[in-house]
């Protein structure tokens, strides 16, 4: 498939737009010198990824991504950042400047190898489009049928993470505070 064939499909314009947005936002996530900005750019990246999922006929996954990531995970990030420290404006020392060239080389090499292998391996394999979206009930049956055990395990992992997070992050009450709590 030549590039002109590829670009002539309108859906690929949408893809291109989303991809560029995702990459641009992703780039800002790792280069932004403001913590909050980075987190917000992550929101943009994930929104773009959700759009890509819709393109890829995975609507349910897309909304899961929105609900879990944008609705909860990033909020949690922002929450954590703002509770600890969140100056507006530039924040020096977010990056390890000496590591930049090495990291750039490594990630570029990684990108090269991955894309090269992907192209070589899958050439012109077509993917399902927007109209052929996966019915949600198939997902539901897969989750609660064939994958019910991993599903339970994931639920258990979440529970463990919940308990672990509470245990780690809670501040031990001072005796006075404990007394006040007990009095309530």
């Amino acid at each position: 498939m030549s590039f002109s064939d590829w670009i002539s499909q309108p859906v690929n314009w949408v893809f291109l737009g989303l991809a560029l947005a995702v990459l641009a936002a992703g780039f800002r996530v790792v280069t932004s010198q403001n913590v909050v900005h980075a987190a917000l750019f992550l929101v943009a990246t994930l929104a773009g990824v959700a759009g890509l999922f819709v393109l890829l006929s995975a609507e349910f996954v897309a909304w899961v991504l929105v609900l879990v990531y944008i609705g909860a995970v990033v909020v949690l990030f922002l929450f954590g950042i703002m509770i600890t420290r969140a100056p507006t404006g530039q924040d020096v020392g977010l990056d390890n400047r000496r590591a930049r060239p090495v990291a750039a080389v490594v990630s570029l090499g990684l990108f090269g190898v991955l894309s090269w292998t992907s192209v070589r391996a899958f050439q012109d394999t077509a993917v399902a489009g927007v109209g052929e979206r996966t019915p949600t009930d198939i997902l539901g049956e897969a989750l609660l049928g064939r994958f019910v055990f991993p599903f339970e395990v994931v639920g258990f992992v979440l529970l463990a993470a919940l308990i672990g997070g509470i245990t780690l992050a809670r501040r031990d009450l001072t005796p006075k505070e404990e007394e006040e709590r007990g009095a309530v």
């Binding site: 590591a99 490594v106 990630s107 090499g109 292998t117």
Partner: protein
Amino acid sequence: MWYLTAEEEAHAAEALSSGGFFAEWAGVMLVLPFVAFLLIVFFGKRMRRHGAEFAIGALAVNLVWSSVLFFQNAVEGIHREVSWVVGEIGVFGGDRLVFELGWVVDGLSIMMFWLVSFVGLLVFVYAVGYMHGDVRVTAFFAAFSLFAGAMLVLVGAPNLVQLIIGWEGVGLASYLLIGHYWEDLDNVRAANKAFLVNKVADVGLILGAVVLGFTLGTFRFSELSVAAFDHSPELAGVAVAAGLLLFFGAMGKSAQFPLHIWLPDAMAGPTPVSALMHAATMVTAGVYLMGRAFPLFEYLASDTRGLMVAIGAITLFAAGLLALVQDDIKKVLAYSTVSQLGYMMTAVAAGGYTAGLFHLFTHAFFKALLFLGAGAVIHAVHSNNMSDMGGLRHYMPRTHWTFVVGSLSLAGIFPLAGFWSKDEILATLGYEGYTTVMWIGIAGAFVTAFYMARAVALTFWGSYKGHGHPHEAPAVMTVPLIGLAIPSIFAGFLNVPGVELGPIRNFTAWLGARVVPMGDHHAESVDWALAAVGLAAALTGLVLGWLVFSPDADTQRARDRFRIPVLYPLLEAKYFLDHIAWAIVNATKGPLARLVDWTNSYVIDGVVNAAGFLSAALARFVYGGLDQRGIDLAYNGLSQMADAAGMAARRLQTGRVQQYAAGFVVGALVLVLMIAVFR
């Protein structure tokens, strides 16, 4: 004279009853005091009487039990032996030499069971009053219960091993109780002395047990008796040696000259201890052992008799003399006890089985009575010394009268218990041909009466020389006194020669209920002539003592200060026996220790050192030559290489996760490329 017919000999054991339930389970009596001991140890301090309840309860049960046995035996004669094999000591000539525990119920052991239970119970009750307010009442009763248990184990022992266990058990209890007031160093010394002297004697007992056990292949008394009765050849070979060894052991526990030196010092313990252990029961264990092994001495080891009778005779007279000069009332009684033990030992050694044990029986009552009386007095005046007493008959009449009864009984005044038993001994000695010893015994009776008259006079007559106001002991103490005074008066009638008391037969018959006949020599009727002589000697002693010591305090003091030259210092110094013992120990311990040291330093150490030097030289070569210069070099080189490699490699571990991640990604890339290139 009284001899067995052939038929009687053959059927003596078979004629006896097996005794029924109470004999079958007589072991309960052996166990109960130990149960009481444990209960006292664990719960004693919480009890109102600090654990005395348990001790008294156990002995009360025992008294009922042994009384039943006593009457069964008196009516029909019992022999019953129960043994359990609990272990193996070794193999002897194809036979297993086993370790057994159990009980033997026969005339001798029943007499001892009953005696220990009866006197023990009264003394325990007395001790409740006597020990009131003491700092360690619980410990006292615990040790006392332990003693009772060990004593019952001893007298119920069907074999020598169990006897030795009980023997050492009573020794332990004795040690604990002599040292009851350990705050005073003298008491500790006394306890140590008693323990060590007993240990010296115990060596003889244990060696004797070993000799007998390995000769017969068993430790059982019954088989020993049968073998002796049958004149077993192999036993005959060792009989004299074994007999002497056993007698040596008995000398220690029963305080025979010259091993009697521990007993007067043992008076450091509380008075009830002196009464029960060091007068009535424990010290008679030696006499009991002689009685238990009597067939051995009767049928085989009769050659040892001369020595044994001699030692008994010396003991009875020398100890009696020592009692004359003591100021401490308990020591008077202690030397009196030694003297009476001499009587018993002499009698048994001379072949008077019944005579010796009958004296043991009666002596237990009146000597315990005297000790308890002395205890009541000490309790009242807070002093052991008769020079602090006097005139107490006005203050403590009950104690006075019971003490007088005990004294008269001990002195052998007709018709009290002591008269009959002492007369029996003197008669036996006469029949057996030990005439000299018999006269020594009569002289001893005189001495006995004399020092008892002195003790009564100095304590209860004259006028009070001490401080404060003495008062009568409480009922819990006087009731046991009366309880002991009654048998002190009447016990003698049990064994009037030739008199049967209806269904309850003569004491001789009870005591003869054994697996084999005793071959005892026993008078069929009272030898009134001899009795008159003995009584005369005793009365003379009494009257003389009375004349010398009774009138009043001043006379007493003057008379007491009168010192007979030569004799008095000799008695004062207790024949220098303690000095001699010290001298022996001091003289031997140095050379002996030096010999051992020399052997150790030059012989043993020499061998060890030589081996050591050789090994060291070899080791030095291995170490210096092979190890240090050869192997270590190689290992050091290797380890230095490893060290250097590690130092180089540890730079990789920076602790920075991101560097690891970078390395990880690079590694993955390289891997992918390699697969792509080389596929």
